[in-house]
């Protein structure tokens, strides 16, 4: 994004707020605080990307991803990198799928409803007001009639259905499952974005996970961050925070970050960590703070994201068009289910290397079978889920003994699905297989996968149960806040990006209200 002429602050200035991270957690808050006149600086670990240099090539495109190694263990090791971790101005929104279902009220009351998982210390109606504000600001497109929420409206008509969406619609209709065009932060008409300029209507590129150059896909780098800069925020790219400094009373006084090979100190009155579900707990554990609950790094949640792929007679070529153009929310609470929570389904388009990786890791294929499957990929269409995940004792993030290139200990994340996750998987696999078969699939194949990095600094009313309160403020340090999806007490069936941006505005308003 254009940072020319941006207001800058001296390192000696004690700014009002430093925000670490510029993705869905950091950016909306940064804009809100700057617009209310606060002196704010965002520190972004990665570079400031030039949209013209985005490439659909999945190998080269990893410049937008956090590629410094994390260690991954457990029965279902989480694949990091391009799958879930952003790097650079815009954070994870540069690679996100822009799939924007709203959080379901039942998911915020999971414990009250089922006795399992955790409730959100957040009022659903309030969150929804923020969600609607975000949808309007970033430009979310969707169907005229949303079957699971008839009151809801979207600004623009939905992205065109690709062949994978057509297949899912055919199969769902045959089975009496309600499905419709997915809400997506993808423009379907040109739009002038305040402080950014023209954003083009989608060209139906399928490579949005590699970055999208024409501005159809909302990222914070073309929405909230230009607004923040226009209001006087400073964004410093290539700045890796490693030390949080505090005074004798334990309050934060500033941060030290590595930039251009030098350590620099930025003093601040308030610190907001928005580095995501891995970097935020890593930084807190490394500094040994905000952890009187012992919950930092615990409760790591990953959405169940198993996929089922069907083989069809015609060329599907799901790499065309918006990748998840169809949705069903019929299984947020499936009738007669023996598990807590539920799942969403979406049609799946996929890029070739992402698909090949899933065939290898999730399907165990190699040799002739792998090659046959790759050569048939153009005839293949899929459905994927996004499912609730319950916290479990062994699913957590810890520090390893190996240092990364900035001298920080690498994170080790362990994840093993529990009985609830397995039960959801089995249910969803059955549903997806039925839909594909009803749509005429000649054969189907199940590929295991998880998505997103959540829960490692969860919010709670009880200071013993979480790291931050329901507003995002540390239970231990009153001028330290966390604003990213590490605060999620449960995974939600909805994908996290939209909810996170809404929470970000809400946290900003709570910070402003407390001044």
């Amino acid at each position: 994004m254009n940072l020319d002429g941006m207001k800058t602050y001296d390192l000696d200035d004690s700014v009002d707020v430093v925000v670490v991270g510029t993705g869905a957690g950091g950016a909306p808050l940064l804009a809100r605080l700057a617009e209310r006149g606060l002196r704010v600086v965002a520190l972004e670990a990665g570079p400031n990307h030039e949209p013209a240099e985005y490439t659909p090539d999945e190998i080269d495109a990893t410049t937008i991803n956090w590629m410094s190694s994390r260690f991954s263990g457990g029965d279902a090791p989480t694949a990091f990198g391009p799958n879930n971790s952003g790097f650079g101005v815009g954070g994870g929104t540069v690679h996100w799928g822009a799939f924007t279902p709203r959080p379901d009220a039942r998911d915020l009351r999971l414990r009250s409803e089922t006795g399992r998982g955790a409730d959100w210390p957040v009022d659903h109606a309030e969150l929804t007001r923020y969600v609607a504000e975000v949808e309007e600001y970033i430009g979310v497109s969707g169907p005229a009639h949303y079957p699971w929420d008839p009151e809801r409206t979207y600004l623009y008509g939905p992205p065109s259905r690709n062949a994978a969406a057509d297949i899912m619609m055919t199969g769902a209709s045959a089975l009496g499952i309600r499905a419709t065009d997915a809400p997506a932060a993808i423009l379907t008409r040109d739009r002038d974005q305040p402080h950014h300029g023209l954003r083009h209507a989608t060209t139906n590129v399928g490579s949005i996970h590699q970055g999208e150059r024409h501005g159809a896909k909302a990222t914070t780098a073309i929405t909230y961050l230009p607004a923040a800069v226009a209001a006087g925020a400073e964004i410093r790219p290539d700045a890796v925070v490693h030390t949080i400094e505090r005074d004798a009373r334990g309050r934060v006084t500033g941060v030290v970050y590595r930039q251009d090979g030098e350590d620099r100190r930025q003093r601040c009155a308030t610190l907001v960590l928005a580095g995501g579900g891995v970097e935020t707990p890593r930084l807190l554990l490394h500094n040994g703070i905000a952890n009187s609950s012992g919950q930092v790094g615990r409760n790591f949640l990953a959405h169940g994201a198993v996929q089922v792929w069907g083989r069809f007679d015609e060329q599907i070529r799901g790499y065309r068009g918006y990748p998840s153009a169809l949705i069903t929310e019929d299984f947020v609470r499936p009738a007669g289910a023996d598990f807590a929570g539920g799942y969403l389904l979406q049609s799946l388009g996929v890029m070739p290397f992402t698909y090949a990786t899933t065939l290898v890791r999730g399907g165990g294929l190699w040799g002739d079978e792998l090659m046959r499957e790759l050569e048939a990929s153009r005839y293949t269409g899929g459905i994927g889920m996004n499912a609730e995940c319950l916290p479990a004792e062994g699913n957590r993030l810890e520090l390893s003994s190996e240092e990364d290139e900035w001298g920080l200990p690498r994170a080790t994340i362990s994840f093993s699905p529990g009985e609830n996750e397995k039960a959801i998987d089995a249910h969803a696999i059955g549903t997806m297989t039925d839909i594909l078969t009803a749509a005429g699939a000649r054969s189907t194949r199940v590929l295991a996968r998880t998505a997103h990095t959540l829960g490692t600094c969860r919010m709670s009313d009880d200071p013993g149960e979480g790291v931050v309160d329901g507003e995002g403020r540390s239970h231990d340090i009153d001028n330290l806040w966390v604003c990213d999806n590490s605060t999620f007490p449960s995974a939600l069936t909805a994908n996290p990006g939209l909810a996170q941006m809404a929470l970000s505005l809400r946290t900003a308003d709570r910070m402003l209200a407390g001044r």
Binding site: D60, I167, G206, F353, V360, R361, G367
Partner: protein, 462 residues
């Protein structure tokens, strides 16, 4: 007559023209299509807008774009043409020109990208031939030819050369001597890491067999310098048989270590639908592998075993061969990873070394037995005598399986194989980016024909 496998674009040296390619073309078989490019001011071509090498490159690129068929091509460049070829190949490497398919370089006594080592008195003498702005006189042309051959040319051939020198634009002649030959292009040319053969005569002075190894070493890491005993500087005239043999040998080596990209797809990669960054990436991956590749992370025994394993994990379609193991080694050396490692695992490089050493002891000779070992490792049963737990071996091996398939699939020939053209969707002008047709069985007009029928068009019999 069948379509040629390879187009040879011939770039003549100073004072020469399309005729310089004729003796060589006669010696080549029908796998080759020879297209001679008349450089500015030679062979009747107009002078360039200025005297820079870049202006010559522009003219040559325009000719290549016009005559390209989407398939593989190489440059055969003589003397001054060698400097043009270096800069041209660099621009192809960088993706900023609408061509694709450069497979190798055949250089005949090439001028280097650096200022040409030419004695000042020789430069002054040659400049004096065009002092009055008129074409070079026959006597001066004779001097030029005599100075540049190891032995006398056949009289008919000699007449051609004299004619070419005399009809050369005096402006272009002067420009090369005063500007083009003195430019230092080494920064913008950089390293050209592609198959390359250099022929040079031992009777040539500044650009001869003795001088070339030092001139080409930094620019062309894969260069193979072949001295021609008794030859001077005008190699295509003096030694057309050897030149043709060298072209054929270079092409044979390329073919043995590459996966070909179908011409229809090559034309798409060259088109404005593909951004320079993507075109550069695909051009780099499409280059044939170096048969003399020396591993940088693995040792040669480990590399050989990895090649054998890769053959079982990713059996390549017939008609092409990508050295997946060498590419994995190169990526390991570059330090790239995928953002995570199995908990407790050492660095990727160490994991590869240890894992391959563990497998080496258990690696059998027949494909079926090899598959059994692969299955055992992949399913966590380990191998006898391994230094690490079966689970650690299994985790590393899963990464290896992904790495090998990545090297295969990222090659443009493989993208063709799986029917993926999404690399061509990022044009700057949104009107030429992305897709219009998204339905099963249908394609847009710009997409390769095998990907479906054009929406709204009547179905054609194929």
């Amino acid at each position: 007559m069948r379509a040629a496998d390879c187009t040879v674009f011939f770039l003549p040296g100073l004072g020469l023209n399309a005729d310089a390619a004729t003796p060589v073309e006669r010696e080549l078989d029908d796998r080759f299509r020879v297209i001679t490019i008349e450089l500015p001011g030679q062979g009747g071509a107009p002078d360039a807008p200025d005297g820079s090498t870049e202006a010559q490159v522009d003219a040559a690129l325009a000719a290549i774009a016009e005559h390209a068929d989407g398939g593989a091509w190489m440059l055969c460049a003589h003397s001054m043409g060698g400097k043009v070829a270096a800069r041209l190949a660099a621009r192809v490497r960088d993706g900023d020109v609408p061509v694709f398919g450069l497979a190798g370089l055949m250089l005949l006594a090439p001028s280097p990208p650096t200022p040409e080592p030419m004695p000042d008195e020789k430069r002054q003498q040659m400049l004096s031939w065009v002092d009055d702005g008129s074409p070079i006189a026959e006597s001066d042309a004779r001097t030029f030819v005599d100075d540049n051959v190891g032995a006398s040319l056949d009289p008919a051939v000699q007449a051609d050369v004299l004619e070419a020198v005399q009809t050369m634009s005096p402006v272009a002649w002067r420009r090369w001597l005063e500007q083009g030959s003195t430019e230092d292009l080494s920064a913008s040319v950089g390293v050209l890491d592609l198959p390359c053969t250099v022929l040079a005569g031992d009777q040539d002075d500044a650009l001869g067999a003795a001088a070339q190894p030092a001139l080409v070493a930094d620019v062309y890491p894969r260069a193979h310098v072949v001295p021609l005993v008794g030859a001077g500087h005008l190699l295509s005239y003096e030694r057309p048989v050897e030149v043709a043999h060298a072209i054929t040998a270079l092409w044979d080596q390329i073919v043995a270590h590459r996966a070909p990209v179908a011409p229809e797809w090559g034309r798409l990669i060259a088109s404005p639908r593909v951004t320079p960054r993507v075109r550069a990436t695909l051009a780099r991956r499409a280059l044939s592998d170096d048969p003399a590749y020396r591993p940088r992370v693995l040792n040669s025994a480990q590399l050989e075993l990895l090649r054998a394993i890769a053959d079982r994990l990713v059996p390549q379609p017939s008609g092409g061969r990508i050295d997946l193991a060498a590419r994995v080694d190169a990526d390991l050396a570059a330090g790239g990873g995928d953002g995570w490692r199995p908990a407790g695992a050492p660095s990727d490089a160490e994991a590869y070394r240890a894992g391959l050493d563990d497998l080496r002891g258990a690696w059998p000779s027949t494909p079926d037995e090899q598959d059994a070992v692969i299955r055992a490792v992949a399913e966590g049963e380990g191998v006898p005598g391994a230094s690490q737990e079966p689970e650690a071996l299994q985790s590393w091996f899963e990464d290896l399986r992904v790495d090998v398939v990545r090297e295969w699939l990222s090659h443009p020939a493989s993208l063709v194989r799986v029917g993926y053209d999404g690399f061509a969707t990022g044009a700057e002008d949104a009107a030429f980016a992305g897709y219009l047709s998204l339905k099963a069985g249908e394609r847009d007009e710009w997409e390769p024909a095998e990907l479906g029928t054009v929406a709204g068009a009547p179905e054609e019999d194929v």
